[in-house]
């Protein structure tokens, strides 16, 4: 379970950002996330939909304890991200589309490295490694350096790394960005599989097709604010014959920049 309550986060803006975004000279900070309240339940996929720069990554980084909220609270698996960050991190798996792997290490070395950081006992690890490597068909390239693997192979290794400690909560930040169709399908299968195994899943995207494929619950975020939050079924009822894309544009006010 992920419980996000009245969470806000702002960043100091640089001169360059001010110029790029046409912000007033006196403005020093920008609200990346503003008064966000959300709940993601176990056994369901929560989709966070928003255009680039909407605040999705900032929100998910706060869930994963990488960033601290300025105000509000986030609880992951019952642990407060501010006060119990270590327990939170133990409970989550974090996968993004932009993250690469250590190209000079082998898949086995990488997965073992993270397993050690998560404090998994050797015998448990060996069993879990075998299960995951068999499931994801990593065995045949487990000893090769990551730098020599294809994008699809690397993504499988990333999945194994994310799931090695069998997390109860899985955070996917735009996990299919830049991936080909086949590799994206693997990710989508993994997200569904996590849901089917009763895990709490939150994933962010700006790809409308993925929303329809995966969402149980969803929220639309734009300029740091939640403009819609509810179940995907409710969203479908609301759109009244419009496409998901049209409804999304209607909600964000058609003024996406």
């Amino acid at each position: 379970m992920i419980e996000i309550k009245d969470v806000s986060k702002s960043f100091k803006i640089t001169r360059k950002q001010k110029k790029e975004r046409g912000l007033p000279a006196g403005q020093r900070r920008i609200n990346a996330v503003n008064q966000v309240t959300l709940t993601c339940r176990p056994g369901r996929i929560f989709t966070l939909l928003g255009p680039n720069g909407a605040g999705k990554t900032t929100l998910l980084r706060m869930v994963a304890t990488m960033l601290k909220p300025d105000s509000g609270t986030i609880k992951v698996a019952g642990f407060d991200t501010r006060r119990q960050s270590q327990q939170v991190r133990r409970s989550i798996g974090f996968l993004t589309g932009s993250t690469e792997l250590y190209k000079r290490l082998t898949p086995r070395e990488i997965v073992r490295y993270y397993a050690s950081l998560f404090g998994i006992r050797r015998e448990v690890y060996e069993k879990r490694e075998k299960e995951l490597f068999d499931l994801l068909e990593i065995q045949e390239f487990a000893g090769k350096r990551v730098g020599k693997l294809s994008t699809g192979m690397k993504q499988k290794v990333s999945i194994a790394r994310t799931m090695i400690h069998d997390p109860g909560v899985v955070v996917f930040d735009e996990p299919t960005v830049g991936l080909d169709v086949l590799t994206s399908k693997n990710i989508i299968r993994l997200i569904r599989d996590c849901r089917d195994r009763g895990k709490t899943v939150i994933f962010s995207t700006h790809i409308m097709g993925e929303v329809g494929l995966l969402s149980d619950d969803m929220a639309i975020i734009h300029r740091g604010e939640i403009l819609y939050s509810g179940s995907f079924d409710e969203f479908l009822q609301r759109k009244k014959g419009r496409t998901i894309e049209d409804e999304f544009v209607r909600i964000i006010g058609g003024n996406h920049d």
Partner: protein, 398 residues
């Protein structure tokens, strides 16, 4: 194993598989001195030998004067005397390298010498490395001529040569061989320490900080149940180890190089071996520890701030001067380890190493250098960990 230990182990494995790091951290420091010194020694020796054995082509204009000199020149072996070349042509020959020297005796030479005045002889040459050696041969000959004329003049007035040699000055250097080596190598060794320490640590620092950000792997690491202090410490230890390894290998390389050169007299070799005595090594290593810790924390801080390899490199380039300048200042004459210079980072290590190698280190000053360097290392590590905790640094631009 602790989390810091796990990170350290993984990072070591990772950087040792990076060719660039292996080259700058291991191969370059180990090989640079044996290769440079071997080549330099061979080239210098062969040039010196060639210059020493070379038949010199010397133009000679005496205008019938200086009979003694003419006789000596004719008697000298490995010397081809050219007597028929006019002055201007001979000078042109020197410029074009067809002649090595021109010896010109003044037209009034004999007359002046005969009347108790000073006769003039001019030696013309074009200075080069080779001429620096061959000039000695010609100067020796000319000095001999001067002595002959002086002796003959003294004989005329029935005096001994010692009459004009009023004072005989002797010089005796009472410093030990170790002190002598310390004087020369002592200025050089800190340079090795400091530069290799810095450059050996630079690539691992870039890879472990900016590289991790560039690959976005920093996110997955921060999402793991590891504290930021453990991450910083794990990475810091790798960069620190790289700096120490590099500096130690540079010293090893230097001693390999010295042993390879047969021209070094055995007593000097013996003294060098004395320098690598356990006490000196331990003292030098103990200076290396805070120095490397300071560099590691500083480099890691810059690297963590940068978003890419390229940015990290450009941020670190000005740092080279901050390292090289104080290290070079230690080589300047008159700059000694005092209570003031002991407070200046990098320069103090440079000067203290010099003193250790010479065997003249004052314990009080050494303690002061340790205090300054360990305090600095501690502050820079503290700064690095604080820096790593700042969201606007870690997520700057990502």
């Amino acid at each position: 194993m602790t989390k810091t230990g796990i990170i350290f182990k993984k990072e070591v494995l990772d950087i040792l598989r990076e060719k660039r790091t292996v080259i700058t951290m291991i191969l370059l420091p180990l090989l640079v001195f044996p290769v440079i010194m071997t080549f330099a020694a061979r080239i210098t020796a062969s040039q010196a030998q060639k210059a020493g054995e070379k038949t010199l082509k010397v133009a000679y204009i005496s205008r019938g004067n200086a009979e003694e000199l003419t006789r000596l020149l004719k008697e000298t072996r490995d010397l081809e005397l050219v007597t028929d070349r006019p002055r201007a042509e001979a000078l042109e020959g020197i410029k074009e390298d067809s002649l090595d020297f021109l010896i010109e005796v003044a037209a009034d030479f004999d007359q002046k010498v005969a009347t108790g005045r000073t006769g003039d002889i001019t030696l013309y040459y074009k200075l080069s490395n080779e001429v620096e050696i061959t000039r000695g041969r010609v100067r020796k000959l000319l000095n001999r001529v001067r002595e002959i004329y002086l002796e003959s003049r003294l004989r005329e007035v029935q005096l001994e040569p010692s009459f004009v040699r009023t004072v005989e000055i002797s010089e005796v250097d009472v410093s030990t061989v170790q002190e002598k080596i310390g004087h020369y190598a002592g200025g050089f060794l800190p340079y090795l320490f400091i530069l290799f320490c810095f450059f050996g640590a630079m690539y691992p620092a870039i890879d472990l900080g900016a590289g991790e950000k560039e690959r976005y792997t920093i996110e997955t690491l921060l999402a793991s149940p590891v504290s930021r202090m453990e991450i910083v410490l794990g990475k810091f230890l790798v960069v620190f180890m790289a700096g120490v390894t590099s500096a130690v290998l540079a010293i090893v390389g230097l001693f390999i190089a010295i042993k390879q050169i047969p021209e070094i007299p055995p007593q000097i070799l013996e003294s060098i071996i004395k320098i690598v005595e356990i006490k000196s090594i331990l003292l030098m290593l103990s200076l290396l520890i805070p120095l490397c810790a300071f560099f590691a924390a500083l480099l890691l801080s810059f690297s963590i701030f940068a978003n890419s390899f390229k940015e990290a490199q450009s941020l670190m380039t000005p740092m080279n001067f901050l390292v090289i300048l104080p290290a070079a200042a230690g080589l300047l004459p008159g700059v000694k380890l005092t209570t003031v210079t002991a407070l200046i980072p990098v320069l103090n290590v440079s000067l203290a190493t010099k003193e250790i190698v010479s065997g003249t280190m004052e314990p009080g000053l050494l303690v002061l250098v340790y205090l300054v360097m360990f305090a600095l290392a501690g502050v820079s590590l503290w700064f690095c960990s604080r820096w790593f905790n700042r969201e606007n640094v870690i997520f700057r631009g990502i």
